[in-house]
Symmetry: C2
Subunit: 160 residues, 2 copies
Amino acid sequence: MSSELRGFELPLRLLLGFRVLIDELHEELARQGHPRMRPMHGFVFQAIMRAGGRYGTTAADLGRALGVSKQAAGKTIDTLEGLGYVRPGHDPGDARRKTYTLTPHAYDALERSEQIFEDLRGQWAETIGEDRLRAMVEDLRKVTPPDAFQLDTPQWFNAP
Amino acid sequence: MSSELRGFELPLRLLLGFRVLIDELHEELARQGHPRMRPMHGFVFQAIMRAGGRYGTTAADLGRALGVSKQAAGKTIDTLEGLGYVRPGHDPGDARRKTYTLTPHAYDALERSEQIFEDLRGQWAETIGEDRLRAMVEDLRKVTPPDAFQLDTPQWFNAP
DNA sequence: ACCATATAGACAACGACCTTGTCTATCTTA
DNA sequence: TAAGATAGACAAGGTCGTTGTCTATATGGT
């Protein structure tokens, strides 16, 4: 950081911290049988779990959960289906709904992600101290919205 | 956060912290005469200052600094020129180079950004304590690369 | 001084991902 | 039972990135 731009350091370090964790996560996931999984997908998996009804999640549900159009969500689902992470189903009570549920492959990715994040967290704790790391997360919770899931990150970053 | 996804909280909070700061920055910048400025642009301004030669920065320079192709950097520069943030110049020693420099309007945006970030930082300090905030940045410095400027964030997030 | 190589920039084609709009089928509700 | 809402399919278009190609200009070895 140049000295004349001191104020930029906080946001920059937050972004870099996120990137470091996500990059290392996906390097390790690639080694563990998930080479095609993208940073976006973990968020999408969680949105699919949250947004779904009794018989699964539709593209329209997912679009609402992610803050994108149903068409965009539909294309994301097509990609995930091609990668074997979701599988189509149907809602017996509503013939319009084409639902999707996560496959065991997706749950495997989520479980491995959880383990890898815990390992990375352990490395951070070794570097900065367990108490300081706990304080960091606790403090970030105080300054961020409690239940944010509409990330829509890619577009947001340089949207019109 | 659901309890079964505890490991996701650290990266998620880092991303949300970044988003909160950037969103509030740009809301305020919009009020202060920079309504068309995008999150990407602040990074680009800094890259233009860093990457440039004696007579300014070329699209090729900027592309290298940002980690994108010279064509993509050229389009970004066209946008910034249209918004009045950069102005073309030339290098008397090299007729190939079409250089660009930041305009006073861009420096105005950078100075206002600096001030707004300091205000936001002050709000965070009130919420979590000045010492804890300083500790957070210090700790993040220990776990992130010291001099990262190849953010290429939009593409990275859901690249192929 | 000369020629091979590298680089800047312009232009074109294309791909990924998002958007809006439209259409039909199906569900819900007054 | 009819009106309105919603799901999904399809098409067209925008933004932003990519690679490839071409010309003009520098640079460096001979």
